[in-house]
C-alpha cells in the first residue's frame, strides 16, 4: 500500500522540479527529461505493467499542465515504461550501466517521437536543426543524470520492498499465532 502514495509523491515532486529547478540549470537551452529516467528506472525495477502505469501517470500529468493534446505524453510514457520493463525486469538490479544505456536509447527515441508528433506533421521538416539543437543535447543531458536518478529510484524501491516484506511477515506471524 505504501508504494502507491510514494510513487505519486515522486511523480509530483519530479514534475515540480522539472518546471522550476531544471530550467534554471539548462545547458545550451535544454533541460534534462528526468521523468523519462524515472519511467525507465521504474519499468526496469518493477516490470512492464508497473512501469507502464508509472509512465501513464507521469505522462498524463505533463499532458494536463502543458501538453499539446491530452494523451500524447501519456501514450509515450506508457510505451516507454512497458518497453523498459519487458526485457529487463530480470536483470541484475545493481548493474548501473544498463539503465544508462536504456535511458540513452529511450531518450533518443522519445525525443524523436515528440519531433514527429508535434513538428514534422506540421511541416517543420528541418530535421537536422531539431536533431542538433534539441534531440541530441537533451538526450546527452538526460543520460548524464540517468545513473544517479536510477540509484535514487533503486534506493526508494528497496525501502518500499523492505517495508512490504516486514508487513507481510508480520501478518503471517499473526496468522500462525
Amino acid at each position: 500500500m505504501l508504494r502507491v502514495p510514494v510513487t505519486g509523491v515522486l511523480i509530483l515532486v519530479n514534475y515540480v522540479l522539472q518546471t522550476t529547478l531544471w530550467p534554471e540549470l539548462a545547458i545550451l537551452g535544454v533541460t534534462p527529461d528526468t521523468a523519462l529516467i524515472f519511467i525507465v528506472s521504474y519499468g526496469m525495477l518493477r516490470g512492464e505493467v508497473e512501469g507502464a502505469l508509472f509512465g501513464l501517470a507521469a505522462g498524463f500529468l505533463m499532458d494536463i499542465f502543458g501538453g499539446e493534446y491530452m494523451g500524447v505524453y501519456a501514450l509515450m510514457g506508457f510505451l516507454v515504461g512497458y518497453v523498459s520493463g519487458k526485457p529487463f525486469k530480470d536483470f541484475f538490479k545493481d548493474n548501473y550501466f544498463l539503465p544508462f544505456f536504456i535511458v540513452l536509447g529511450m531518450a533518443l527515441v522519445y525525443q524523436f517521437a515528440l519531433y514527429v508528433a508535434l513538428f514534422m506533421f506540421r511541416g517543420h521538416l528541418d530535421f537536422w536543426f531539431y536533431l542538433y539543437s534539441i534531440i541530441v543535447p537533451k538526450t546527452i543531458y538526460t543520460s548524464a543524470l540517468a545513473i544517479p536518478l536510477y540509484l535514487l529510484m533503486h534506493f526508494v524501491n528497496r525501502r518500499i520492498e523492505a517495508f512490504e516484506d516486514n508487513r507481510r511477515s508480520l501478518f503471517e506471524d499473526r496468522e500462525k499465532d
Binding site: 509530483l12 522550476t20 535544454v30 505493467v49 507502464a52 494536463i64 499542465f65 494523451g71 534539441i134
Partner: protein, 274 residues
C-alpha cells in the same frame, strides 16, 4: 490489481494505448478538458511550484550578493559608458524633428497602455519540454485572467494566455511556434503577422510574414500590434525589424524581428484583463 494486469498483458497494453488515443481524440474538441482532475492537481502543484520558485529566486539572490567587488566595479564602469552613450542618443533624438513625430506617437501609445486594465502575475514555472516556449503564472481566473488575454513584460508583448485555472494560468510566449499576432509598422503603417519560430528563437528573433512586396519597411522600424488583431489592443510594442528579405514568390517579403520584450525569462508579467 497488478497481478490481474500481469495475467492480461496484451489487454492491458491495448487498453492503455486506447485510453491515450481516446484522450487525444477528445482533446481535439475545444471545451473538453479534465477540469476536475486539472483543478484538483493544481491545488497541490501550484503551491509547490510557487514555493520552489521562491526558494530558487532566494538562492539566486544570495549568490548574486556574493559576487566579488571586481565584477561590480567593472559593471559600474560599463554602466557609466552606457549612460554617456544614452545621453548622446537622447540629444540626437531631440534634434531629429521627423523622429520626434513618431516618438510623440509612441508616447501617446504608452499613455494608452497605462490606462489598460492589467493584473500583475509572478512566473512560477516553465514548460517541461524544450519543444515549446511556455510558462505558468501564479494568478488565474480568481484575479480575472482568462484564456487569450495578452501578456506584457516591460510594456511590450510577451505572449498570450493559453489556459487559465482558478489559481494559475499557462502562457504561450512570443517565441512559441503557436504564437502569432497582427502588427503594423509605426513608420510605414505596413501590416503583417509576427510569428514565433523555434529555430529563430535560438537567435532571439521572430518572423514577420505577409509583408507586401511594395512596402518600404526597413531595419530599425518599430512594430506594434495592429488594430486588426482580435486579441491584442492596438499599439502595444512587439519588436524592431532587424532585416527584410524577399520571398521566392515575389509578391511578399518577410522580416526578422527583435522582440521588444527581450529574450530573458521574466519573473513578473502583466496580463491585460480588459
Amino acid at each position: 490489481m497488478v497481478d490481474f494486469l500481469h495475467k492480461r498483458k496484451r489487454t492491458f497494453l491495448l487498453g492503455g494505448m486506447c485510453l491515450c488515443v481516446l484522450a487525444m481524440v477528445l482533446s481535439v474538441f475545444p471545451g473538453i478538458r479534465l477540469s476536475v482532475a486539472e483543478q484538483g492537481l493544481a491545488w497541490v502543484i501550484v503551491p509547490l511550484q510557487r514555493g520552489t520558485n521562491t526558494t530558487i529566486i532566494w538562492v539566486q539572490g544570495r549568490f548574486a550578493a556574493m559576487a566579488d567587488n571586481a565584477s561590480l566595479i567593472a559593471e559600474n564602469a560599463a554602466l557609466r559608458e552606457e549612460n554617456i552613450r544614452l545621453t548622446l542618443e537622447v540629444e540626437q533624438l531631440h534634434l531629429a524633428g521627423e523622429e520626434n513625430y513618431y516618438l510623440t506617437g509612441i508616447l501617446e501609445m504608452s499613455r494608452r497602455f497605462s490606462e489598460l486594465p492589467t493584473v500583475g502575475a509572478r512566473v512560477i514555472a516553465q514548460n517541461q519540454s524544450n519543444w515549446r516556449s511556455r510558462f505558468s503564472i501564479g494568478s488565474g481566473t480568481r484575479e480575472g485572467i482568462e484564456a487569450n488575454m495578452p501578456v506584457l513584460a516591460g510594456d511590450a508583448v510577451k505572449g498570450i494566455v493559453r489556459y487559465a485555472w482558478s489559481n494559475h494560468a499557462e502562457v504561450i510566449t512570443i517565441f512559441d511556434g503557436e504564437f502569432s499576432v497582427s502588427v503594423h509598422s509605426v513608420r510605414t503603417e505596413t501590416e503583417g503577422i509576427v510569428r514565433g519560430d523555434i529555430q529563430l528563437s535560438r537567435e532571439g528573433l521572430l518572423r514577420m510574414d505577409l509583408i507586401a512586396a511594395t512596402s518600404n519597411i526597413m531595419p530599425g522600424d518599430t512594430l506594434v500590434t495592429s488594430a486588426y488583431s482580435p486579441l491584442f489592443p492596438p499599439g502595444l510594442p512587439v519588436g524592431t525589424v532587424r532585416s527584410v528579405h524577399p520571398n521566392p514568390d515575389g509578391l511578399t517579403q518577410y522580416a526578422l524581428v527583435e522582440p521588444a520584450a527581450g529574450t530573458d525569462r521574466p519573473h513578473m508579467v502583466l496580463v491585460v484583463v480588459g
